[in-house]
């Protein structure tokens, strides 16, 4: 199995900061891959390595089957990129920036460019200095999408966009997915990731801590229970896979690992339950668990 992006055990240090510490990332051709992690986890650094803008201190990378450091130009011909921090030339107009950047990749698709300008509601004649943050972001998005690419690498592409524009952005992702392109999307917005991504990778402190489909990841999370009962909590608390048991007068709350649900349900049924609510595992819990963990990440899981 070959991926369009295949990075293994990437290491990158800046002086004494270890930004990437053995990171693995695998993206299959044709998928939309979410790339998540807390601030400073190493997402942008990874992306710059994938583009050959930074040279990895260790590990191996291949992008569209090539080494991005050695064959940067050939790799870039296949890529549309939106950087994490969009900085435009203040004196150029939006239209000029879009044409300049697409011309450097071989020229824009005129029809696509016009359509994108219309959909994103962007005035191409304003000077970049005069654009709002969201409008600068749109310029970068139009420049990336106005020429068809095999791989789109988007570093927090919706930062600064209003909800309406976010939906325009999602339509573009659906379009390029339908056209068979691959997208690597770094993001902090869970709903966006949930809607768009086929698979995700979560990084923390320069290491990929989870990677897989969302459905598979849900299994890793816990279901939370709120049970109205007069019975004591001990029997439930003693069961395997039960965590964070708390009691407030009649209300008993606890979380259960997905694979240990059956015995817990049996015990709840026997406990004289008078009210019950069960919340499914939420992505947010999953992320918060990874984002919030203190210390080094635990062993890596591959799903």
């Amino acid at each position: 199995m070959t991926g369009i992006v295949d990075a293994q055990r990437l290491v990158k240090t800046f002086g004494r900061v270890r930004a990437l510490d053995g990171l693995d990332l695998f993206v299959q051709e044709g998928e939309v891959h979410g790339f998540l992690g807390p601030n400073g986890a190493g997402k942008s650094t990874t992306i710059r390595v994938l583009l050959g803008l930074l040279r990895p201190g260790g590990g191996s990378v291949s992008v569209v089957g090539l080494d991005p450091w050695r064959d940067a130009v050939e790799v870039h011909r296949e890529i549309g990129y939106v950087p994490g921090e969009v900085a435009l030339w203040p004196n150029l107009s939006g239209g000029e920036v879009i044409d300049l950047l697409t011309s450097l990749r071989g020229g824009a698709d005129r029809g696509l460019r016009a359509e994108l300008l219309r959909d994103f509601d962007l005035d191409p004649r304003r000077r970049a200095r005069a654009y709002s943050k969201g409008n600068r972001q749109k310029v970068a998005l139009v420049a990336a999408f106005a020429r068809r690419a095999r791989l789109y690498i988007l570093d927090e592409p919706t930062s600064g966009l209003d909800p309406l524009m976010e939906s325009v952005f999602r339509r573009q992702i659906e379009r390029v997915r339908a056209e068979g392109a691959t997208v690597l999307l770094s993001s902090h917005i869970l709903s966006e990731v949930e809607q768009l991504c086929d698979r995700i990778t979560i990084v923390r402190a320069g290491v990929a801590v989870e990677t897989g489909t969302l459905a598979a990841m849900r299994h890793l999370t816990r279901t939370s229970f709120r049970v109205q009962t007069a019975a004591t909590a001990e029997r439930i608390a003693d069961l395997p896979g039960v965590h964070d048991v708390r009691r407030e007068s009649e209300l008993l709350t606890f979380d259960v690992d997905t694979e240990c649900l059956a015995p817990v349900l049996r015990e709840v049924a026997l406990s004289g339950v008078t009210g019950l609510s069960v919340a499914p595992p939420s992505l947010e819990d999953l992320f918060l668990r990874h984002y919030g963990d203190s210390g080094r990440p635990r062993s890596r899981t591959r799903v």
Binding site: A87, P90, D99, L100, S103, L104
Partner: protein, 532 residues
Amino acid sequence: MWRLLWADARRDRRQLLIWLVGIALVVAGSAGAVSSEFSSEQARAGLLAVALATPSLLALRGLPNGSGLGALIFFQIFAFVAVVVGLLNTFLATRHGRADEERGRRELVAAAPLRRTAPVTATLIHGTVLNAVVAAVAAGALIVNGLDAVGAAVTGLAVGVTGFVCLGFGLLVNQLTPTSRAANGIGAAFVGSAYAARAAGDALGSPDLANLSLRSAWPSWISPIGWGEQTLAFSDNRLWPLLPGLGLGAATAAAALLVQSRRDIGASLLPERRGPAASGALRGNLALSWRLQWPSLVGWVVAGALLGLLTGGLATAVADATLGNPQITDVLQSLAPGGGGDITGIFIAALIGLVVILAAAAGMQGVLRLRDEEEEGHAELVLATAVRRSTWLLDAVIVAVVSVLLVLAAVGLTASLSFLLNGDRSHARAAVSQAAAGVPAALVFVGLVALLVTVLPRFAVAFGWGLFGVAVAIGLLGALLRLPAAVRNLSPFSHVPTVPIESWTSTLLLLALTVALTALAVVAVRRRELVI
């Protein structure tokens, strides 16, 4: 606000220390050299007699005010030091003004519970204190050479007040221009025209041969550097000519505060025009490099052209004044190292030598812009496309080389034109050749910064301009300071031959050096990553 001032000062401390040490060395060095070279009254009187008879020499140097030792030193170095201190101030105003605003740092400060004018006030105090220190350093450097303390103090004050005018002007310009580049350009043009106005005023002045002094013509009196000269330090020690400078500095600073208190953040008084909806000619990386360079290049080319026009006019005056005076020839020859040929030829070489410095600066700017591009995040956009790292560098080098050629072509052609108008065909040809002879020395700096940007990106700007400053100081003051030949030879500006060229060695060496530096840079940039 005091915290802000403190933060500004901390940010600048290394850079300012270098400027201060440089100023101290130049002042103390020239004072020492002049003292030992012209220790006798007679030698000084001889030099001044020549200078007074040579308008072009007055234009390049300054205002003679008697044959005292201190007065001679003041004549030799004041204008040069004033230009350096002037640039120091306009750059400082931009660094803490438009540049901060452009990069969004100002917004963080502006949101703090401070008066809207606090950043400008902080820079005003910062710059004023700096000028006081510069004044003290300049005065001190003269006093340790055993010169009269009153004259030294007046010299220091003149330098400090000139700096203050440029500070006020710089603060105001930063309120009006949309970009920091424009602010720096207008600031440098202000300092340059202050120098040029007094050059004209001194060249056209009426000499008083009995007192070995000069009454400047009116252009000196509209120049802040001219006002400093008019203190006639060490002879008359007048302070009143500094009053217009204090007034102008205070007025422009007050205007800057006023504009700042009424202006929106990020706004400039120059209106924003709408741009094109699509890029016409702006396709490809070379076009981008050119687009980023040409606005500032216009300024360099105009400056070169004006100096060229001046060359023809002044050269005729030199030739008239110097017919059969060997002393003048000696002095002029010390200004155009390696000079041979006739007196007008040497003068052409001296003036075009100044433009070679401008051309080098224009070229350096073209390459050093890569560093700005990288820091501001633009390089990331470009290098993520199908542009090779080596292309990215070489396109900037090409634009820089073109800049050097254009600036020198401007001076060569206008100087040549000004000779043709006088019917002097041979010097018209000489002017063009002389401008061409300066090309290699300017190109070396392009190669140098190409390598610096590649291998020492974080220090490239400081190192590049630092080395340039040293090379300019050695080139312009090396002869005056009696620096050893080995040191003078280090500056490319010492290797501009005077036409007719007898030896091509230095020309070929400089060209080879440029090619070698650029080739090294290209090899190194292939293995260089983005440095943000």
